[in-house]
Amino acid sequence: MRLIPRSLFGRLTLILVAGLLAAQFASLWLHIDERELMLRQGMPHFAGVPSRFWLHLILTFTAVISVALIAVRLVTRPIKQLADAAEAFGRDLDAPPLAEQGPAETRRAAEAFNRMQERIKRLIAERSLALAAVSHDLRTPLTRMRLRAELVDDEALRAQINADIDDMQAMVDATLDYLRGLGESEDPRSIDIEALLASIVADEQALGRAVDFAGGNTAPYPGRVSALKRAIANLIDNAVKYGHAAHLSVVDAPTSPNALRIVVTDDGPGIPPADLERVVEPYVRLETSRSRETGGVGLGLAVARDAARLHGGELLLENRAEGGLRATLTLPRNK
């Protein structure tokens, strides 16, 4: 059994209540001692503890606990604010800085936090800029290569060169997409999710890919449309690449009606259970995929996960009992 509360709030309350009570009891004890002395010296009719004592006790308890609660709240509020700010910053790089006010220690913590937030923002911006510059500058030589490839008469060779250029372009695009997802601030809008999925699926089918959509009626979802589009397109890419086909469906989650679930399943071999969590990290590719002719830089799932988190949701990968992978984007309706 644990006597010490888990939260700082509980601990401080316990300390304050115990301390104040101890002080009260001490004074009470001294008081009673005094009174007893007085009684013994001549005042008759002392029978047990007087009812005033109980009143005293209750009043003391109430006063001590309320004072303790208020005091502790005052002390822990800045810590809670700091935690909230860190949480918000984790979700959104452009979260407003913490107000630098209150007692000296709090102010210092807030200042330190804000400086850290600034530094992280600058670091990410610089890294993104550098990667974007490289990816961007690659486009001119790639354009030239595409045009030069058309000059090659050997059809097989031309096809190979074009395939190489396609791979390089896909890497450049994936990197730029990923960086854009990290930096972009798009205003949320109410979106017809069925139309969103149907439009993506129609475009994929036009490219001749094995993608189907089971339909499903859901209320409009307030979200960021290009982030969602990228996420879903990436999940489809993965399913088609590693699992031969992509099957889409959308449901309002049965357990919590306030979340939307977009599910993409495939008919492939799935992912070894040990790698399920790792594979959504950026630039992680599984050995099985690298040795196969699938290309990619390992950003697709990271982009999808980031998009889910941007909406306060998650990306979940599971192997289906009947074979193949199931990727579920859970998107809560009220964040």
Binding site: H136, T140, L142, T143, R146, Q169, D192, A195, S199
Partner: protein, 243 residues
């Protein structure tokens, strides 16, 4: 022998200019290269140009400004080339009057297909509606943003469209209250002739009706004209912005 369409290529990379001129020449176009805005203006004065392929990043002037200037003087269609895939660039490009855009590195075949499509579109069926800036097309409470390709319902909900749905809707909106037959739709949207048993257009129309919440049994917006084709039964107004 039919005359070749004359394409003006404006790009600051000499290799890309040279390669593009050769490639387009091989594909039945006459292509003229220009290095920057000044050369572009000179060539436009000297020659009759059917279409301008304009790179967004030029040394002496912003491609967007050039595009806007060109648009204020003539109806020559413009295809914008950009090295950035960002939506913002596309939006300004379309706002400045570009007819289409391609992101570098593009496939040369794709470029030729787009060039042909633009020329076909501007010749076969000149739009009824040509407001100065037609970024937003509003009809029956709906709004179509031609830059972001976002369709907004009367209740404010965003209704994403597939490429095919967008092209079909755009075409109908550019010719409101005018019957467009299935052959024209097929030709302009898919770039191929319709064979009499091809239902592709009808399938696409029915999907678009669904998106527009238009009852397919008694459509109010996209009406079927039996034996002829389809007509958009609504007035369309062009606006500068959909907000």
């Amino acid at each position: 022998m039919e005359t070749r369409d004359r394409i003006l290529i404006v790009d600051d990379d000499p290799e890309i200019r040279r390669l593009l001129v050769d490639y387009l020449a091989k594909n039945g176009f006459e292509a003229l290269p220009a290095r920057d805005g000044r050369e572009m203006a000179q060539l436009l004065d000297k020659h009759a140009i059917d279409l301008v392929v304009l790179d967004l990043n030029l040394p002496d002037a912003d491609g967007l400004t050039l595009c806007r200037d060109l648009r204020s003087r003539s109806n020559t269609p413009v295809l914008m080339l950009t090295a950035r895939g960002e939506e913002a660039d596309r939006i300004v490009g379309i706002e400045m009057g570009a007819d289409d855009y391609l992101v570098k590195p593009f496939s040369p075949r794709e470029l030729v297909a787009r060039l042909k499509a633009i020329l076909r579109r501007t010749r076969a069926l000149p739009p009824n509606l040509q407001p100065e800036s037609q970024r937003c097309l509003a009809f029956a409470g709906w709004r179509l943003d031609t830059a972001t390709r976002a369709l907004t319902a009367p209740d404010g909900v965003l209704v994403p469209l597939s490429g095919g749905e967008y092209r079909l809707l755009r075409l109908l909106l550019e010719h409101p209250n005018r019957v467009i037959n299935r052959d024209q739709l097929m030709e302009l949207i898919h770039g191929r002739a319709a064979d009499p048993f091809d239902r592709a257009i009808d399938v696409q129309v029915s999907r678009l009706r669904q998106r527009l919440r238009d009852d397919s049994r008694e459509p109010q917006l996209i009406k079927t004209v039996r034996g002829e084709g389809y007509v958009l039964a609504a007035d369309v107004t062009g606006r500068a912005s959909c907000d």
